[in-house]
Symmetry: C2
Subunit: 136 residues, 2 copies
DNA sequence: TCGAACTTGCAACGGGGTTGCAGAATATTT
DNA sequence: AAATATTCTGCAACCCCGTTGCAAGTTCGA
C-alpha cells in the first residue's frame, strides 16, 4: 500500500484516496479497464468526474495508456519503462471475444512491417481478437 | 453512378439517395471517414440518424468496416472480397499524425505473431501512426 | 499550523449514438 | 398503371461518455 503512494510520488502526484484506489484496482485486476469498470469496482465512493480526471492525470503522467477496442476505450497500466516524457508505444492487446477481457501482451514484439515508400511510422498498435487461454 | 445502384442491389439494399450519396462519398474520398465527416460532406441533406443507420446497415452487409483510432471511430470501404458472411478481417490502417487522415493499406499482410500457448487469434487489426507520404 | 496549490464534487453542458413511431419512399404483385 | 407490402427516413426523445467552471475541501511544504 505504500507502494501506491510511492508510485504517485514518483510522478509528482498528491496522494488521495481516489488515486490510490484507482491505481490499486489496476494492479489487482490485471486486464484493461474502462471508466465504467472502475465505477463498478469503486462503487459510489467517488464522483464520475473525479474518476475521469484521475484517468486523464494517469495518462498524462504515463502511468496508464489507452487500449483501443471496437466497442470502447479502455486503459491499462504501462510497463515500468513508461514516463511522462518517453512512452513505450508499441503494444499488442488481446481481446477475448468470449469473456470480453482485454489484456496487454507485454513481452511480445510487433514484427516489422514493410510500408510503401514515403510512410514514416512512429508507433504501432496491434489488436488481436480471439479466444484467450481461460476461455479455451 | 449505376455502379452504386449495382453495389446496393448486390447487398439486397434498396437504392435511396442517402445510401447512394454515402457510398459515393466513401468511393471519392479514399480515406476512412467518421460519422461527422459524412455529415460535413453531405451537408443538411439527411438527418443524423439516417446517416447512423446507413453506416450500421453498410457494416452489417460488409460494405464498410470499422477503423479504430485513439480518438474515435471511423469507417472505410471493405475490399471486394468482403460480404455479409465472410469478412477479410486483417487490416492495417495508417493514421497520419500531421494531416489526420486514416487510410487502409490493403495490400499489406500482417506478419505472423507467435502468441503464447492457449491463445486462439481470430482477427488482427494493426494501427500504425506516423507521417504519410503526402505530409512527408 | 498556516497558506498556497492542488483535488474533489456538483451542476451543467455538448457530442456520439440509439430507439420508437408515424409518415414517406421503394419494390412487388396483379 | 395501381395497390399493397415492405423498407427507409425524419423527428423527438433519450442515454451514455466525457468535459468544463466553479466553490468547497485536502494535501503538503514552509
Amino acid at each position: 500500500m505504500d507502494q501506491l503512494r510511492e508510485t504517485l510520488k514518483v510522478h509528482h502526484l498528491r496522494t488521495t484516496t481516489c488515486r490510490e484506489d484507482v491505481l490499486s484496482t489496476f494492479i489487482n485486476r490485471k486486464n484493461a479497464l474502462s471508466h465504467g469498470d472502475l465505477e463498478g469496482a469503486l462503487g459510489e465512493s467517488y464522483d464520475r468526474v473525479t474518476i475521469y480526471r484521475t484517468l486523464k492525470t494517469f495518462l498524462e503522467k504515463g502511468i496508464i495508456h489507452k487500449v483501443l477496442d471496437d466497442e470502447g476505450l479502455r486503459y491499462a497500466l504501462c510497463s515500468h519503462s513508461c514516463s511522462e516524457e518517453k512512452h513505450q508505444h508499441d503494444h499488442i492487446h488481446f481481446k477475448c471475444s468470449s469473456c470480453g477481457e482485454t489484456n496487454c501482451l507485454e513481452n511480445l514484439h510487433i514484427p516489422a512491417v514493410s510500408l510503401p515508400d514515403g510512410y514514416h511510422p512512429e508507433n504501432f498498435n496491434l489488436l488481436i481478437q480471439g479466444i484467450c487461454p481461460k476461455c479455451n
